[in-house]
Amino acid sequence: MYRYDEFDAALVRERVEEFRDQVERRASGALTEDQFKPLRLMNGVYLQLHAYMLRVAVPYGVMSGAQMRRLAHIARVYDKGYGHFTTRCNIQYNWPALTDLPAILSELAEVEMHAIQTSGNCIRNTTTDVFAGAADDELEDPRPWCEVIRQWSTIHPEFSFLPRKFKIAVVAAEKDRAAIRTHDVGLQIVKGADGGTAFRVFVGGGQGRLPHIAQEIAPAVPGHELLAYLTAILRAWNLLGRRDNIHKARIKILVASLGIDAFRTEVDKHFATLRQEDLRIPDAELTRIQSYFTPPVFADLPKTSAAFDRAVLADPDFARFSRNNIRRHKQPGYASVIVSLKPVDGVPGDITDAQMDLVADLAERYSFDEVRAAYEQNLVLPHVRLDDTPALWRELLAAGLATPNADLVTDIIACPGLDYCSLANARSIPVAQALSRQLGDLDYQERVGPVRINMSGCINACGHHHVGHIGVLGVDRKGEEYYQITVGGSPDEQAALGEIVGRSLPSEEVAPAIARALDRYLEVRTEGERFIDTVRRLGADPFRDAIYETADAVA
């Protein structure tokens, strides 16, 4: 994985010292909250319902054991013994004291981590396929390109005061495992005309109160011109995007109002100049960055593993785990293992300090010192020998990290909601917990197959409810929590926004209503048809009927 050079190290160190001074001035009263707020936001610090919240960047979701161990240490020493992984692959701490923040950021800097650009109107953490470098269907490892984007976008002077936040995701396979079309810019690595790396570029996706699926703006931008093209997109938006209304400031609004063709014309105008300038990525620099991502030294192993096969036969629980949480790897004899942060009755994305320490150990022992954060709020050990998976599973099981539900219906994506967030209208976590209890039977979950439920506590859509196969949105009805259900959303290469099925439901009705919709699916599906395929074939009506069959819905 990437290691800081002297520029990265100096930049992060200087930022810690600058923020230390700002915190001291705030604590002494020399800075008002209004003066301090934009400064703290530039360092990932929010003020939430109960406390300050610190969001730490996990660049494209990649961490070492030492970094994970440091995250555990921070949870233990400065917080309440846990952290929360987000849909941007970052980690949030819910309880740090303002006066501890400089010390926390110092400790993070020691392991090459920071909280820069995890908030504010700037380019946020670039995300990618959690199986990057391991998946057998990728054209190349997308992470070096994510690192190129990270270096280019970090404290970029032109893009430090954008109309609104800006998010980029990169994939390198046809299968979109990073929800790129829900992003301001989505990049898909394709083969260029010259056989080299090129980028199919999507622009104008986003969720929130006005959701849009990104549209294709360019079929194949040559790799060495990627930064020129991204700069052109951002410059066009920075010049033309609205700043008068926060709800209309994202690039999706500009793209939708101009139309993709007119927006492309604007971008091409800038690109024509920019591509002639020094934004071309030098081959030597790209090679240098790529060298940090060379595959680990895999052992030469047979495709199958006797230890794995024996464990599957001997232990039905391991067999279930292997069916759901172990994924194919490009290297024979290896696999990627999904560490579920979605136990029944748990908080999606939460992990304790002890669990983080264990995952750090397991990454070092079993996965070439690498662990990934998935946008689905799970962790992944990307490079595990099949031979080692039974032993790894036993350790995960003992720590409550082996719920065999990856991509199943209790693998729920949820924002923190009104239990923590000052923007929320309703709680998310208790509804996710009720769903996990109602739908927790593992035989049932496997019978139902892959279904993603996404849960947001307000229209800002941090839980990506618009693109959940089933989406749940918390709304406020005269001080009471109600939940609106959508069906048919999809975050992948067939990205779609879900359809609102009807009136919102009180919280206790949500889990039974969704259970009825899933039962209806089991009745009407054809052989081998996934839930989302059935919705696409039949539309939302059968599920609407099931959801409202017995529910006492209110306006």
Binding site: H50, K80, L98, L418, D476
Partner: protein
Amino acid sequence: MKIITANRLSDGRVIYVGEAGAVVDSLSAAAVFEPEAADAALAEAAAQPAVFVNPYLVEVTGHTPSGRDRLKETIRSAGPTVGNSLKHREPA
């Protein structure tokens, strides 16, 4: 009736204006004001920026939040209703 709440500058924790302008961390210890007196008390809290961050008024009946934001204010006063923070006691 109204109470005054804010987040504490040093650690962000939820605080209230108590009797005689004291800073208290429990809603049950918050001073309850008539509407006219509430505005003056709010101004007093706002004049102490080294303690009170973003002070505002909350509608209450007795010591129970009663306005449109009653659920939010109840959660603010009692902490998250679920999750890992419940296992962890705040240092006194």
